[in-house]
């Protein structure tokens, strides 16, 4: 049993900082993720005008469709925070329910991204068509992988909550996954504006 699992009823962990090491580690990880996505976004910004013989961003992007996808991901952040709130109240039934709904909304977003990629490919925008297409697929693909990993974590959480096999504080476990999920949403907020809404 780790020191973190001994957090008292007021949320204070018995560590040298008085904070949960798990939570501190998650925030450190998210801080480092800013550098990963910063690199991918910067590379896209540099190459978005390099379309070569391929289609331009404005020719392939479907703003109404992506807006709906963005809205779905945004609402998944609401359901996630409701899951964390339920977990802190010790309401396992609602925690599982909100986590499952979050996973469903995330899966809807990923499904939309797969559909979007397929449509782009059919319009002649392959991965190696141009520097624009390569940097676009790498950036949005990396984000999609992050969402997919999040869905796997959410579904795993539903499973282990049902079997009551979450070690330590269940609320903190759900909160950690929530932090990751909200970060994925925050990254999409930036991608949606810089990549989709601002024309090259």
């Amino acid at each position: 049993m780790t020191a973190d699992s001994h957090a008292d009823s007021h949320g204070a962990a018995h560590t040298s900082t008085g904070l949960s090491n798990n939570k501190l580690g998650m925030w450190l990880f998210l801080g480092s993720e800013c550098l990963l996505f910063g690199g991918l976004i910067s590379t896209y910004m540099l190459y978005r005008g390099r379309v070569g013989e391929g289609p331009r961003p404005s020719q392939v992007f479907d703003i109404p469709f992506t807006s709906v996808s963005s809205f779905v991901l945004l609402m998944s952040s609401l359901t996630m925070v409701l899951a964390v709130s339920a977990a802190h109240k010790g309401d396992e039934r609602n925690t599982s329910l909100w986590v499952a709904i979050t996973a469903l909304l995330g899966a809807t977003f990923v499904g939309g991204q797969v559909y979007e990629f397929t449509a782009f490919y059919n319009e002649g925008m392959g991965f190696t068509t141009s520097l624009f297409s390569s940097s676009f697929y790498v950036l949005t693909g990396f984000h999609g992988v992050h969402v997919t990993v999040g869905i796997i974590m959410l579904m795993s959480t539903v499973g282990i909550l049902k079997r009551s096999k979450v070690p330590g504080s269940k609320a903190e476990t759900v909160e950690m996954i929530g932090l990751y999920w909200h970060f994925v949403d925050v990254v999409w907020i930036i991608i949606f504006t810089l990549i989709y809404l601002i024309p090259a």
Binding site: G38, S77, L78, S85
Partner: protein, 99 residues
Amino acid sequence: MTTETHSTTEHGMSNAGYVRIAAILAAITALEVATYYIDLGALFLPSLLIMMVVKFIIVVSYFMHLKFDNKLFSWVFYAGLILALTVYAIFLATFHFFS
């Protein structure tokens, strides 16, 4: 102390508060999409960037609880973010992106 009060004071807001925040985020997203179809002229880029930053801060502060949590978490996260912004601003400037 009720469960709801306990939750509100220690972990941020009530559920109704979260729904209100989500409604604000949805409204800002709708405004962002509207700028794509309405000609705002010189205001187009600044307005989109401001709305993006506002959405970012709202999610991080309220949904990720940074506003209510220990300040060390804020320092750790914003240090990574500011480092990333600085490094990639220099990177983009090197390639004459802003000129």
